[in-house]
Symmetry: C2
Subunit: 678 residues, 2 copies
């Protein structure tokens, strides 16, 4: 036995014996316990706060006495009085071992802290940020040992932080000498540890101890919408989330029309690249302003996007993605300087990470969904549907994962819909139609009230009722089907066929008047026959993709369905099933994962381990190409109808009744007609 | 025994047995024999030419029969008829082993070919270029194995050239898909193998087989002169050499005045950085034009320079170099993109390598001299003096090497001299003065004739006689000393003291009329008392630096002296000794190495192994700081006089007679006066 004291760390359970007088931080480092420190134990940063436990720990077989640590000292007192510190906490660099002790490392003192899921859109993850602040004390120059200031900084980083072979670009070298001298030979660096074989790199440098935060942007670059989260790189906290329309919409609403634009217009790809980069710069500025931070404090950005957006972001002509064999220019992940992408609103040295693509039609956004939802770790057979202008689908379990993409078009995002709009205050997002009276009620974004509730008018006075968004149109069409206003073929009934004056004739077809605000100068919001057709096309594509994956997997049923996408969280599972967007499944097994691609981007932003994981995972995802698969067309055509009562949807039919109607114009009208799907 | 044939390669001596039908190139690769190939054995590039030997090789114990190789084939015939090929040569990829054979690999077929010293300024070196052309055949995209075009290119480079983990920047990715398709899935890449832990990187890409040359610039960036060699990166051949004045001269003639300019003028360092980069761009364009190549075919540039120029090139404020402890911002070698230095006239992807600095006053130029002259491999104690506005000195042998720099000022480069000019046609570069008649004769750059030779006037008619360059002023002053026109203290005698009317009175001092062109409208070229003083200061600094190193080494004599520098090749050893520029040494042991720094730059340009070598070597060179060493001042003061007969210079006095004169103004004039140095 030695005279050394036993130190046990929780929650890791790591333990070891240390001489009296060893700082807790030193003990933690020697044992490989994850205890944060920016200043390296100099009592400056207070990141190494720990909670010593006292008394009997029968589990660990030790008794901790009151004098197991050195006394509370002046450094701790100064920090506590100036900044506050929870009672019972000590600074790991100040408290020294004097006897056996049990030390709890609270989550906020861990570099690799676990971020607990707080909502459906937040996945548990372990922090492993690429960029961290490190404080170092650098040796002064010595004429007799003439090394450069940078070389001495690199030596200090290696000795004090075990960071080997660090690099810095010329912009850092230019500021190095004044910064070192201003900080009297101590500096704080923002160090990017590098992906894979990249050398670690100094992104920024400050004199002395710098108490700032480093931020990152997780960007889901969709065909229609660009969504971003601004995160704190130390704890993964989302400070602000924001989005804007992808300005490339003016070059084409869906991906293939943008590829066509690039093909038909010399320089068209360059134009689209410029416009999306400008939008990202604007988004970076606005999201930083919203969070009240400087955009120059953004040191990392992670992008997820489909292959066409991926190429257009990188400045690569997407023409090859428009024709078989849909060859990507670059499929692996990419680590770039933000300035390579002209993202000049971020910090000048900011790094960009782009997730890997899976295939020519299955992009980094799908990889991000796989990272977020981890189908390859599921015991159930799960179908993940990331709804967007281009939908990504993943089907699999721990044995095998398949992926495909499906060109749904922008209807689900409210585009190509007569009264459609993007999800914003004033947009109808929820719809119910009384099957008896055929009267609707709805909710608009910005208010929790139904349109029939008292106070609704006042609650929506500011935004007005401006249109209908993606989730709203899905519910409206499904509710029309449930109320017998639309037949399985998608035909809208007339007023006389349905018995409600809300059916408005438009030429030879009909529409359903959801809301008439014209008296107050607002819009009339009608669900038109054209809207139904657009939704039918979109949902058929989605369903056909799912069926194709199921064929490939050799299954007829899935255990679970996860709806994802920027607005996936807002789709009602029941309505999605009524519409036939997704395969039949028990309703309580159909869940929403919110913006899973965005979540995947956020996970990759906060964790280098996660980047490594998804880079490995994509090699094991088998991609099914919809564009050249004849069965896709077949499934697509077959899926055009909206389910009716005799279709094989046992789970669906257990929860709803599908009216048996047919409105084909040559028919007699009214109920009773039947059409079989062919 | 096997049926395999024995293949012996010369000059390497490597041997092995191979099945009949094995191409010679394949055999060479398996044995690690250095046999070049750009096309990888596809009969396209013809780089793998070899010379089979036939008959009895008793040394190797084999007899080579006429049918030892497969017959001359159509590929070889086509190449020979189109491009020509020496008789007896075969293409290594076409000729296959059919019996025991001895294969000679001629130097031009070796990647690591030895470049033999052709002149004093050309050192033997082994080629090991960082950037090479490689031809690859890339797999076509396959929808069922969806990898990116870049990933398949990377796989091809690994499979066909053992290049792992290759990278390319976005500019290459942008061109990749069209290039691959244009080349029908074969391309040639310019591949930079990376320094140290850098990943190999594609600098350029062409469809199919590209038969171009890759060029590099070796740049000696001096305080006064910027000199460059344009080299072919495959064989090290110098296609053109050119130089221009460093435009920073307008900010200060010597290094310390430029540091002062940066200190006194906010933004002054930025201004100096811009001016030198612009000059380098101009030089790159002009040297490429001179060689008849495109400047965009320049893929690498190597820089050697003193620490102040190093910092100003990199855009780092040199202020710290102006004061003790003379801390460099960065002392190690640097690998950069040329565009980081705004060197936009080179290829857009060109790489820059900057040699390491040794210390705050001993720069990458000194490292380059060490690389070129290799004092650390010398058995003799050698003093290497790199003469320039700032002189670098190296003293040592295989046991120990010391270095220092000495601020000689620009006098040796013709600046600060009344009729001084840089070395260019029309400049007086050689001077002799008859000790009896005191009459001079001289040579000017551009003609081999002495001024007293018939035809001299005609030969110099174009350039005229415009001034005197560095080597000319050194010879002039030394010859004046030998002719008794200058005394050991540096005083110039009057006409009556010296007995020649060439002595011209100027105020209270005198000058020597070397040439009077005023009758033809040309200049009067006078060596003034001021010129003598400037040369005395410069040579004292040089000598004091050498003495300081000798003190540190504990020696009084050196075995050899090597004069280097942009104009070091032009300095007459005898005159340098008469002047007291260098320590006394046997005259035949004083040699010129030409522009050793420039040679070192060229070696580093052509060889990654040499870069690694000098990076290691600089750590073993011990630097002596002149600026704070009191003994340097002491030596400097003591060295001010020009040697006279009683000084301890046995080697010097064995070859010349030093007139015993004194011209101090209060003296009697004429010969006979004596002054002892204190």
């Amino acid at each position: 036995m030695t005279d050394d004291a036993l130190v046990i760390f929780t929650p890791s359970g790591k333990r070891g014996r240390f001489p009296h007088g060893t700082p807790i931080l030193t003990a933690a480092r020697q044992l490989g316990v994850d205890l944060d420190s920016v200043c390296g134990g100099r009592g400056i940063c207070s990141k190494c706060q720990i909670s010593p436990g006292y008394g009997e720990f029968s589990k660990h077989g030790v008794t901790v006495h009151a004098d197991a640590l050195t006394e509370w000292n002046a450094v701790e007192e100064r920090y506590k009085s100036k900044r506050g510190m929870l009672d019972g906490r000590r600074l790991g660099c100040q408290a020294k071992v004097m006897g056996d002790v049990v030390i709890d490392v609270p989550p906020e003192s861990q570099v690799h802290k676990q971020v607990i899921r707080k909502s459906a859109t937040m996945r548990d993850m372990v922090m492993d940020p690429a960029t961290r602040l490190l404080y170092v004390e650098v040796a002064e120059p010595d004429m007799h040992e003439p090394s450069g200031d940078f070389e001495r900084l690199a030596q200090a980083l290696e000795a004090q932080w075990q960071v080997k072979g660090v690099r810095a670009d010329l912009a850092i070298l230019r500021r190095l000498q004044t910064t070192l001298r201003k900080g009297e030979w101590s500096v704080t660096v923002a160090l990017h540890k590098g992906n894979h074989d990249e050398a670690p790199r100094i992104l920024d440098i400050w004199p002395g101890f710098h108490e700032g935060h480093l931020y990152g942007l997780a960007i889901d670059l969709g065909s229609t919408t660009i969504a971003a989260h601004l995160c704190d790189l130390s704890d993964g906290k989302v400070l602000a989330s924001s989005g804007l329309m992808n300005p490339q919409i003016r070059f084409g609403e869906d991906l293939m029309s943008r590829v066509s634009y690039a093909m038909m217009n010399p320089g068209g790809d360059v134009e689209m690249t410029r416009s999306v980069r400008e939008a990202i710069n604007a988004l970076a500025a606005s999201i930083a302003a919203e969070a009240g931070v400087e955009a120059t404090a953004i040191y990392e950005a992670v992008f997820v996007c489909n292959p066409v957006m991926h190429h257009l972001l990188l400045g690569i002509d997407p023409v090859e993605l428009g024709q078989a064999p849909f060859a990507l220019a670059h499929s692996a992940s990419l680590s770039l300087d933000a300035r390579d992408l002209d993202l000049t609103n971020l910090n000048r040295a900011a790094r960009v990470y782009v997730l890997p693509c899976i295939a020519g039609h299955v992009g980094a956004d799908c990889a991000a969904v796989a990272l977020s939802e981890e189908p390859g770790k599921s015991k159930d057979m799960v179908l993940i549907v990331d709804v967007g202008t281009n939908a990504e689908l993943l089907l699999g379990n721990e044995t095998r994962v398949l992926a495909c993409s499906s060109p749904t078009g922008p209807a689900f995002e409210g585009a190509q819909i007569s009264s459609g709009q993007r999800a914003a205050p004033g947009a109808i997002e929820r719809v119910e139609i009384d099957p008896a009276t055929k009267e609707p009620r709805f909710k608009v974004i910005g208010s929790d009230l139904w349109s029939t509730d008292p106070g609704f008018v006042a609650a929506t006075a500011t935004s007005g009722i401006t249109g209908i968004c993606g989730s709203g149109i899905i519910e409206a069409v499904a509710e029309m089907r449930l109320a017998g206003l639309v037949d399985p073929g998608g035909l809208v009934g007339s007023a006389e066929q349905t018995g409600t004056a809300r059916m408005i004739q438009e030429g030879r077809v009909h529409g359903y008047l959801l809301h008439d605000g014209s008296a107050e100068g607002g819009p009339r919001i009608l669900v038109t026959q054209g809207d139904i057709r657009a939704i039918q096309l979109a949902k058929s594509a989605l369903y056909a993709g799912a069926r194709l994956l199921m064929d490939e997997m050799g299954i007829d049923n899935v255990d679970r369905v996860t709806l994802a996408g920027a607005f996936g969280a807002h789709i009602s599972p029941k309505h999605a099933m009524v519409l036939g967007m997704i395969p039949d499944a028990p309703l309580d097994h159909v869940t929403s994962a919110g913006n899973a691609a965005g979540t995947g981007a956020r996970i990759a932003l906060c964790s280098v381990a996660a980047r490594n994981q998804i880079e490995e995972t994509v090699h094991h995802i088998h991609k099914v190409e919809t564009a050249i698969e004849p069965r896709f067309q077949e499934h697509f055509v077959n899926a055009n109808a909206i389910p009716h009562a005799t279709d094989p949807f046992p789970n669906l039919l257990s929860i709803v009744t599908l009216p048996d109607v047919s409105f084909n114009t040559s028919g007699s009208g009214g109920t009773g007609g039947r059409r079989r799907r062919g």
